[in-house]
Amino acid sequence: MIAEAGLAALYLAAALALMQLAVSLVPALAPQAAQVARPLALAQGLLTAAAFACLIVLFVRTDLSVALVAANSHSAKPLLYRFAGTWGNHEGSMLLWVTVLALSGALLAVASRGIPERMLGATLGAQAALALGFYAFLLLASNPFARLDPAPVEGQGLNPLLQDPGLAFHPPTLYLGYVGLSVAFSLAVGALITRDVGPVLARAMRPWVLGSWVFLTVGIAAGSYWAYYELGWGGWWFWDPVENASLMPWLAATALLHSVSVLAARGGLRTWTMMLAVVAFSMSMVGTFLVRSGILTSVHAFAVDPTRGGFILALLLIYVGGALALFAWRAPAVGEGARFALVSREGALVLNNLLLSVILAVVFLGTLYPLMVEAATGEKLSVGPPYFDAVVGPLALLLMLLLVVGPLLRWRRHEAPLTKWVAPSLLAGVATLAATIILAPDISLLSRLGLVLGVALVPASLMPLAGRSLRRTPLATWGMAIAHLGVAVSVIGMASDSAFSRERLAAARPGEQLAVGPWLVAFNSVTPVAGPNWTAIEAELAVTQGGSERVLKPQARTFTSPVTETSEVAIATAWNGQLYTVLGRQSGQRWQLRLWWKPFVTLIWLGAGLIALGGLVSLIGRGWTNRRTRRRLAEAEL
């Protein structure tokens, strides 16, 4: 019954979305469209959430009469993974996607004071059109509630690589980011239809962009850390198509976040902001398409299905193509907005946008280039980390340079000299440069510049807080400072990891001692161990740095259902970095041991956490000021 109830809720939600779209399309209704669309959007959101809740119940109970559960779950699985198994598969993750989409629409309908009614009507219409496509996709091509007759005695389990607490919550986080951008997209479409692009729109759009961006940042950082400790290759970013699929919307959202500020504060960059709002969500859809269609080969295993890929591609063509056509048609009417001098806050933000856009273009091109070449010439090739590092690295460093001065510039025109403000950064940068040349003469130029700019950005990111009363500084400024500091911390971590990592690959016998970096590793023993749905060989390593000893237990694990072998990495975290250990295959009496010493690698994710925190603080601050402004406006009207 639960499966049927879920399916019914989904059909009903689709019907409501159709009505919501129809309302905004009837010209006679257009002025009142928002009033009708509001309750529809709310009901649609609740119904979709109910359908998703049904699927969760089916997974938690391991109801094997449902095909999706049988194919992806197993009664021996721990509760957390039965729960997370709900979205650890194609159908479930698409249902999650449409749930977030519908709930975002509902939230927009309920909490959207300040948006002109006509624009809100058009926006809710656009949001309904988006949802409708995904309902159709679920109901016609990937029904998550299909029954299986006869029911099998046991399910097939979840991909063991995905059985990890961090990863259980990685997809929902990313989806909140991906789909939150749909609201920015719909708002842009609504504004283009009603020809009403201005600060009001920007203020309505900003919390959605900020929120999505925070989720994307957290999702990407979590994914990166997961790949780092789960895949056992010691790296934290591989420029894999699936990774790029999440990075591209983040880059677009980062650019949008900054341009929407210019639109909100100064009324400038109108066309450009509309363009970015469309591109940001388009990148979410491109990402979904790349991941779900499997058209690009990736180290991350996902179900490949050309039919479903075709469906998502059709949706992508309709929505993105439609929005871009609307943009090309209406953009000349939108106008440029307020003008500004080249050296100004706006000027720096434009440059920031240009650099982010170029990076986005580079990643997009690099991800799809192999496909384009093969389509054109039939020749197979791959584009890997060397290309991306070489092109993105310098662009990212330019962006960092801009971060040192940009936040200090004034709106419209900046004339006062910045010497006093930039001096600490200059000093820090030069000192770092001198130190790295003396202490580490052999590191690569890119790592060296990364260290220099990262350290220089630490004082620079705090400068906007200097010389003002900290208690009266707006939260948005705090948020900016924290996020920029996070960039500095992350970049220092990345540069340090690439410059100072030490690797040791050994074939060792129990009883041997190995040294890597400042660590001494004693290989004590190898023992077999068993878990709820796996068996493993486990090594015991006693590791010491300085005085205190710790025991690490890396495993080579084998899952029974489906049969998969994984490496369970063991990591010792110290204040100055991580020791990363992997147990490999047995050869005779010896075992392969892979040891890495990674100085300050933890800063990468610590920085990402700060970036997200900065976004969150800013979001809270904006919400607060918005409410205050509204109250003041209301009082003034009285």
Binding site: I295, L316, L317, A328, A375
Partner: protein, 175 residues
């Protein structure tokens, strides 16, 4: 000029869609071919998977008869889907040997009772050792072995009705 610039995103989208369509219509060949095709079956000797039935030994393959070697497991749901096809192959006179991967005798017996038993001999590969030496990564998987014990053809995944003619042809070729 400005108008033309506004159409650039649409052009990029068109390019992307064209490339994606091309890939969707001509998907790359995802099957992993065993490097062992054309090579003799690796030597192995497995105990019987079901008590009282014959065990499986690689030497048994060089008796001049082409046959199918099927890797399955009682815990493998796709293997259930494959079972009727194997029965059909047996009905057409194909000799089928099997390896039960990471299984327990009582589970294998129950599986055969429930889904049919087209196998002549079944070896028990408790630790996946033989499976790995065959270059196989998952179950179900099947190999066509000729009369001299040489691997001729590998089928990865479930055997479906449309795979039957291919397998029959390969078995005929291996004769």
């Amino acid at each position: 000029m400005k108008r033309a610039l506004l159409l650039v995103p649409l052009a990029i989208l068109a390019l992307f869609v064209a490339a994606a369509l091309w890939r969707l219509s001509s998907p790359p060949d995802p099957t992993i071919r065993s490097r062992l095709a054309g090579q003799p079956l690796p030597a192995f000797s497995l105990p019987a998977a079901v008590p009282g039935r014959p065990a499986l030994d690689s030497a048994a393959f060089a008796d001049g008869q082409p046959r199918l070697l099927n890797l399955f497991a009682s815990w493998c749901v796709p293997c259930i889907a494959e079972a009727p096809m194997l029965l059909e192959l047996e009905r057409r006179g194909v000799t089928i040997e099997a390896i039960a991967v990471r299984d327990r005798p009582e589970d294998v017996a129950r599986f055969l009772q429930r889904h049919g038993d087209p196998f002549r001999r079944i070896g028990l590969d408790t630790a996946s050792k033989v499976q790995l030496s065959l270059g196989s990564a998952g179950v179900p998987e099947s190999f066509v072995i000729d009369g001299r014990g040489i691997i001729r053809y590998q089928h990865v995944g479930v055997i479906t009705a449309k795979d039957l003619p291919v397998l029959m042809a390969e078995l005929e070729k291996a004769r």
